[in-house]
Structure formats: structure tokens, C-alpha cells
Point group: C2
Chain length 109, copies 2
DNA sequence: CCACTGTATCGTTATATAGTTATATGAGCC
DNA sequence: GGCTCATATAACTATATAACGATACAGTGG
């Protein structure tokens, strides 16, 4: 299961994927997409972000393969590409929860 | 398995974790640690990074809980805190490989 | 105490990018 | 064609941070 040595190029690609997830704004967009596909306008309402800003974040998420894009007439529908994103977030969330639990336990001691 | 809504604060914490992994230099350090715990000096040799730079990256990885620290005399030994890092990287690597395979298939068509 | 080694921190510079405003592209309708 | 709405892109500013050199701060041995 553990991966072999990665080439510098591969390491960069991995870092690029993590960087796409390293922004609270983009995580909030992904969260908003958990309810199903949404247009940019719908996402503006859901997140409160400006249109240009939102569009740029969506480009990043699409370029890194985390969201899928579907054009329908004038609108563009974005959706989660698969559930890897959720798996990644769950892993990290689990870590954070464990840390917090540890810290609480340490303080209560 | 899918997580409930996260608070803004929690989203920030998650983003912070991803950001720690969003740097090729830090990924290379983590790779170097897959062989077991290493001192800063050993990591300098393994990665070719400058000492100050390396130390700062290690602080980030430690603050985000990805590496553990053990002082022994003058030296400080760093190691992978657990294998979540490997699981995270594997997930992302799998995605990249699938993308590359898809692209190859599209070109070969 | 002094010198030495290993690690952490500080100060600086260069680069990346989030957010904003203004503008461009493009589809559907008159 | 012109008009409007939805989305994307460009140009800019402000902020973050990676990398580097210099320095500070332990531990250890003399």
C-alpha cells in the first residue's frame, strides 16, 4: 500500500492537489457542493463569495480534478467529481478531532 | 461516513492541514522520513535543503501533527506521526494516476 | 567557563495568490 | 443585429510565505 519513491515532478503534482484543498474558501465551496450540483450563481448565494472570486476558485478545483463541470444553456453546473474529496477531508477531520480530544484530556488531567 | 456541516473555524483547521502538505519541499521531507526517524542533519543530507529552511518546514509539519519530535542529547529526531500522511498521499496519487491513464487513453484514441 | 555542534529563530527579499473591480466572452431572446 | 444574463478573464492591491544569511539558543566536552 505504501508508495514507492516519487519523482520530483510527481511530488509537485501531489502538492498542487493539496494546495487546491488548502484554502478555506475552496473547502466551503466543496461543502456547498455536497448537496448536489450547483450553478455559479447558486454557489454565490450559498457561499457569499463574489462572482469573479468564485469563478477563479472553481477553475482551480476543476483543474485539479476535484469538481466536474457541465454546461447547460447559459449556466454552468459544478459538482463533486467523486468522493475522494470527502475521504480526504474525513481523514483530516479525524486527525483534528483526535488532537482536540487529546488536548481536552490533557487539560482535564 | 460523510461529515456533517463544519464550522468556519473547523474549515480553517482543515485548510491548515492541507496547506502543510501543499509544499513539494515538505512532501520530500515526509518521503525522507518513510525510512524511519531522522535528525535534522540527516534530513539536510537526504533532501539537500538548507538548515534554517528545513527547520522551519519541520516546525510546520510538527505543528500540524504530521511528524513527531524526539530530543536526544544535542540532536532532534523527527519521524512520521502516524500513517495518515501515507494514506492521504496514496489517495491523491491514485487520482493523479487515473488522470494520466485517462489522458493517455484519450490521446491514443 | 569556554568552545563546539545541532537546532531554532530573526530579518530580508522574491514570489505566489486571494480578493476586488472592470471588462470580455458567449448563450438565448427580441 | 442588438440586449441581457451567466460565467470567465484581466489588471491590480494586499497578504502570506519559501528560501537564504546571520544570529541566538541549547546541550556536550574540554
Amino acid at each position: 500500500m505504501t508508495r514507492r519513491q516519487l519523482t520530483p515532478r510527481q511530488v509537485e503534482l501531489v502538492a498542487e492537489r493539496f494546495k487546491a484543498l488548502a484554502e478555506p474558501s475552496r473547502l466551503r465551496i466543496l461543502q456547498a457542493l455536497r448537496g448536489g450540483e450547483r450553478t455559479v450563481t447558486e454557489l454565490m448565494e450559498a457561499t457569499g463569495f463574489g462572482q469573479a472570486n468564485l469563478s477563479k476558485h472553481l477553475q482551480v478545483l476543476h483543474a485539479t480534478g476535484f469538481v466536474a463541470r457541465r454546461k447547460a444553456g447559459v449556466s454552468v453546473y459544478y459538482s463533486l467529481a467523486d468522493d475522494d474529496v470527502l475521504a480526504l477531508c474525513d481523514l483530516v477531520c479525524g486527525r483534528i478531532e483526535r488532537e482536540l480530544a487529546d488536548r481536552r484530556r490533557a487539560l482535564a488531567r
